[in-house]
């Protein structure tokens, strides 16, 4: 049986970072920036939050590369669905 290497103090720091990013996201939302700038900033913050959870809480580091494929392929398929249908919707 393989165990993850736990650092309970790090987990609390990661939680603090997630809360700080939540506050930052709300702050960006309240700034009423241009639509594109706000979207880029808000979704960049969400991506960083997801990365922190995946890397530190789900221990998606030092795992066999095939595990990245198991997770990455469905994610790529979902993104591909949006990208392939986008021209049909955006430029009709």
């Amino acid at each position: 049986m393989t165990h993850a290497h736990h650092n309970t103090r790090l987990y609390v720091w990661i939680w603090g970072a997630l809360v700080a990013l939540l506050v930052l996201g709300m702050f960006v939302f309240e700034l009423h920036l241009s639509k594109t700038t706000a979207l880029v900033l808000i979704f960049s913050i969400a991506a960083v939050k997801a990365f922190l959870v995946l890397r530190n809480f789900m221990h998606l580091q030092g795992v066999p590369p095939v595990l990245y494929a198991i997770v990455g392929i469905p994610l790529l398929l979902a993104i591909a669905m949006v990208l392939t249908l986008m021209p049909d919707i955006a430029f009709r």
């Binding site: 736990h6 030092g62 198991i70 997770v71 949006v82």
Partner: protein, 198 residues
């Protein structure tokens, strides 16, 4: 297992799936199928939103404060279950059980907040039949809510089972429940800005 993969495993970095517990691999396969479910739904929402001109007016009726509080609750529950995982690996039965109960309780707080939010929206006349936006809103948050509910039932049952003297046999399940719960958290991390902030 080959000699090379054994040495990698000894170093703490497994190189093949066969070096991982079968339950963990199974859980990741399950999560991959869940990525397809939520990925397809979120993708369809993004495309519909572009096609319908942004739904800016409809989104002003959503309560981003309640949603932000719910994000905080879910992120905190993620911390609780990773602490339960750490306690389980350390063989600390009491701490494992305590953190599992905290996780389930926070999940319940999330659902209560969501139910309160739904009640406000329905009171103002916004139901799934109101428009395409509200159909997506109730569909996506409802599906996520069902996942939260399933997680609460699983984690609560696990917390009860962890209290038994034979808990060592099910210790690994704390990790699997954690993987599922963190995934539910990650889905919300994207649902929140997609519905409330953009």
């Amino acid at each position: 297992m080959t000699a090379t993969s054994q040495s990698h495993a000894a170093a703490g970095h497994p190189r093949t799936l066969s070096e991982l517990p079968i339950g963990r691999v199974g859980m990741w396969w399950f999560l991959a199928s869940e990525i397809m479910v939520f990925g397809g739904l979120l993708g369809a929402y993004i495309l519909s939103r572009i096609a319908h001109g942004g739904w800016t007016e409809e989104m002003t009726h959503l309560n981003s404060t309640i949603a932000a509080i719910n994000t905080l609750v879910l992120v905190t529950s993620s911390l609780a279950i990773v602490q339960a995982h750490a306690a389980a690996d350390a063989g600390d039965q009491k701490r494992t059980q305590r953190y599992l109960f905290i996780t389930a309780a926070l999940g319940l707080v999330f659902l209560c907040n969501k139910a309160y939010e739904y009640s406000i929206e329905i009171h103002h006349g916004f139901t799934p039949a109101t428009s395409t936006f509200w159909s997506y809103y109730y569909g996506m948050t409802g599906l996520h809510g069902i996942h939260v509910f399933a997680g609460i039932v699983w984690i609560f049952a696990l917390a009860v089972a962890v209290g038994r003297p034979s808990w060592h046999a099910i210790r690994q399940r704390v990790e699997y429940a954690g993987l599922y719960w963190h995934f539910v958290d990650v889905v919300w991390i994207f649902l929140f800005p997609l519905l409330y902030l953009s």
